[in-house]
Symmetry: C2
Subunit: 380 residues, 2 copies
């Protein structure tokens, strides 16, 4: 474990014995959120930062759960002592969102009304519902204002929603590889992923847990679609080219894997299908599809951002074609037109959408510089 790791961390479960009403009108009678924190909350509670996760993320953003854990948390490259989100300066809060499958109340937890897993009956949250639940968590933690709310992709949508729904509750909003709303192409890829899952013979209308089944093949396919589209063409070419799995072609049945890229995809899909819940995947992609920041502002993002009071930092990555730089520029343009303070960095990267998770010098430098500004403001 390197010296700039947050080290061994333990998630904590917060129980909320209060109903939570979703934007859809449906509600949870009570709920639990699993949370990790890194760093120390300062005496005036002004150094708290909220991390919002994306489609397949969870609360485990940094460090290790035990010393033999093979992989660190999903954003370990960016959270830790001396890292852009510097845990020597910030108290970092990272939760598993409602509807997730890593401990927070979701499709794979028990519905108190039936005594069975929620499964497909779990209400689909909108991004604003997550923000509402994060606000309740904030109150429980005794934090009055976030120094920053930070998120990539679907997480960036949550960060923007925070700026609109609770303008006094955050000083900075960091939106990475995100969008004001999905394109038709993005919705189409999400639709394919969902169809792959619901078409799986073991899906059983979403009640697979009650049947002791898992729609593994569908979930693996969904992940494969995500994986290919979240990478760039160039990154795949560099990583695999047309390298053959066994060195030469075989005349074979479909089961034979011939190119390296095939075996890699199958491995990734299989691994994911054993660690993620299918109903959660459906629900997360629907939340992505539904998000449309300016919908209730006459489709005008400028008026949507009018009430925001925080500073904004927006990042995009050149080869990201699912959340293309153009989508980030739309956010920046709207913020500028709404006369908000906004910085924008378009980072050169060949790693597509995944770039927001990966080490990259310019990204790290710009991120660190902005977070230093956030920290200074907090001290002043």
């Amino acid at each position: 474990m390197s010296s700039n790791s947050v080290g061994i961390v333990s998630p904590e479960t917060f129980r909320f014995d209060q109903a939570l009403v979703f934007a859809s009108g449906r509600s949870l009678p009570n709920f639990e959120l699993v949370v990790e924190t890194y760093g120390e909350l300062n005496s005036d509670k002004s150094n708290a930062v909220l991390i919002c996760h994306a489609l397949s993320g969870n609360h485990h953003a940094a460090g290790f759960h035990h010393k033999d854990e093979r992989k660190a948390g999903w954003w370990d490259a960016y959270i830790g002592p001396g890292k852009p989100i510097d845990t020597d300066q910030f108290f970092v809060v990272s939760l598993n969102n409602l509807g997730g499958c890593h401990g927070s109340t979701g499709p794979n937890t028990i519905n108190p009304e039936t005594g069975k897993p929620w499964g497909p009956d779990f209400p689909t949250p909108r991004v604003r519902d997550w923000v509402q639940s994060q606000k309740i968590l904030m109150d429980r933690l005794g934090i009055e204002q976030w120094a920053a709310v930070i998120g990539g992709s679907l997480g960036g949508m949550q960060a923007m929603r925070w700026a609109l729904d609770y303008p006094d509750k955050l000083r900075h909003c960091i939106v990475i590889a995100s969008s004001l709303k999905l394109t038709a192409q993005n919705i189409a890829f999400n639709e394919i992923a969902r169809r792959a899952i619901v078409s799986d013979y073991n899906f059983k209308d979403g009640r697979y847990l009650e049947h002791q089944l898992i729609p593994k093949q569908g979930l693996a396919l969904a992940r494969m679609v995500g994986h290919v589209t979240y990478l760039s063409d160039d990154a795949m070419a560099d990583k695999f080219g047309r390298d053959l799995h066994n060195g030469s072609f075989q005349q074979g049945e479909e089961s034979k894997v011939e190119f390296q890229v095939q075996s890699y995809l199958r491995y990734q899909g299989d691994a994911f299908s054993e660690s993620f819940d299918a109903n959660t995947y459906i629900l997360m992609t629907k939340s992505l599809d539904y998000f449309d920041l300016a919908r209730e502002y006459n489709d005008d993002p400028v008026s949507a951002f009018k009430n925001a009071r925080c500073g904004f930092m927006v990042f995009s990555f050149t080869s990201d074609w699912r959340f293309a730089p153009q989508r980030s520029r739309e956010i920046v343009d709207a913020l500028v037109a709404a006369r908000k303070s906004v910085s924008y960095a378009e980072i050169e990267s060949k790693y597509g959408h995944d770039a927001f998770l990966l080490p990259n010098q310019r990204y790290q430098d710009a991120f660190r510089a902005y977070m230093n500004r956030v920290a200074k403001q907090e001290q002043s």
Copy 2:
């Protein structure tokens, strides 16, 4: 039926009582090819043009099978009297490739050795095997040299292979939206499509016909992946945007279709799954993956093209990201370096890979101009 249609056409089945040995070493004891022709073969048999089809194509490239047929052949915009491939000037030959599912010998025809459908036992053809079978058809038709061999996508790969394998047998090679070999990303999308099919509960290891089953859901998914990736982001945005199916959001089960793009994709997938054979889809995508024009020329496309004797016309489309203009430029660069006669047109279009099938003024004009050159050369 408009005056520039080839009108009512009837496919013809050619039977070949001879074994065909594939590049893999496997063979067919005999085979049939279903063929359509448009226009008249001239007295010196110098005006014949071969059309090579792509992944989901077949022999029915132009006209109608009966007067109530709703849709014309798949390339009707380009084949007919006065059209770029002018049937007043050319005798156009269009076949269903071996392994296809529209009448030619393939997985859904009977394996004479077993008396059952070939199914997954049908040998996977390489592009060169198709070209070999097309050459046998050519001999049967008494044609000694094609005025041109023409194909888009996988069809363009066949056209290039003709130029290498039978350099004296064609005067022109027209390669549209194609590639010297697939990228890793393209192989990955094909892999996803195949996994979707083989994961279908009804696939039964490819022996679904023997079980009176069809892996409809898998095939529909495969088609959806193709459909989304063969279109451009912009074209999807223009066609669907984020339009809602019922005008407003519903809190609903997964089965509810909320965006227009979802219902469109499901319709396309379902329609395709009722008209196409799953084993053929697997086999066609594998042929695409395997194709690598320069593999046995030390990966040097320049030396691959050295023996070609025909003139080349190469087309690409700006928004085509699965067979990007860069791939066509690689073909053109190799042809130039090999000192071949080559014309290249990069056509502005927002319709992605599908652009090669759709009406487009500049494409039609350039195509017509080139075909006029082909026709003049033939008269001289």
